[in-house]
Symmetry: C2
Subunit: 162 residues, 2 copies
């Protein structure tokens, strides 16, 4: 099952609005980063996006990619993850809203799952401390619980919830 199509025009609009509000300039590079990030329908690192863009013929520097990803993160168009060990990974927030990660500590196999209980909890806990929740990051570290753990790297399957 493919998840929702991303409305890039809407994102551009949202980004334009953010830049306007914060008095940043509308540059071609910034909007190109957004577009290419939207094309990559997956998690990516800043460097992967940089390489992808230059392969595709956009001439852009790492510095610009990093700085634009920072802007896009600040306005919540992109979500930045810091999983254990590696470099930061990014993804479009609209790609799959409110999903979290279940990661095998042994083989790195990762499942993206959605569970509405987390959003409820997020809001409730923040309220308990007089704060207002914006988003959350939830990672479950687990084991495949299976002797051929490595094999499962490219599998997928289970029951949806939410």
């Amino acid at each position: 099952m493919k998840h929702r199509e991303i409305d890039v025009e809407k994102l551009r609009e949202q980004f334009r609005e953010f830049l306007r509000t914060k008095m940043y300039r509308n540059t071609q590079e910034r909007f190109r980063v957004l577009e290419r990030a939207a094309e990559l329908d997956r998690h990516f690192t800043a460097d992967e996006l940089y390489l992808y863009m230059n392969q595709r013929g956009d001439k852009i520097s790492r510095a610009t990619v990093y700085s634009t990803l920072d802007l896009l993160t600040r306005c919540n168009i992109v979500t930045k993850h810091r999983f254990q060990g590696d470099s930061a990974t990014y993804e479009l927030t609209a790609r799959k809203p409110n999903h979290d990660h279940l990661i095998c500590r042994d083989c790195g196999y990762m499942v993206e799952f959605q569970d509405s209980a987390l959003v409820v909890l997020q809001d409730e806990i923040a309220r308990r401390y007089g704060m207002r929740a914006l988003s959350h990051a939830f990672q479950i570290f687990a084991t495949c619980d299976d002797s051929n753990c490595q094999r499962r790297l490219h599998e997928q399957s289970p029951t949806e919830n939410a």
Copy 2:
């Protein structure tokens, strides 16, 4: 309210057992890292621990601190966090079991909270995908929802749950 006292002897025992099982050696340095980490009753970075130990008169290298923290993480005596941006932070797992973090995106104010629902969810979701949960990391990003957000940096207060 002070949280539970940490039983360092028990941790030493646990570490000894881990090293034995994995055929690693019992060295003074490794146990000293554990002891000093236990003294720091808070989150710390590898470098902070390194500096603390050398201030306290232990002669130890960064390499050893890093490698021992890795061992301690692998046997779950220490928990490693990767919050946004910064370097990795560590803390004794026994310090405050199963707690998570609520972070103000504007001022950095951080609350450590406990909620038993998360452990239940962690187990249930892992099971749903045929995996066995070991631990989780849950961060809520929020705003203080308050005009003097910065002021709250050193406050604390709320209702316990669990």
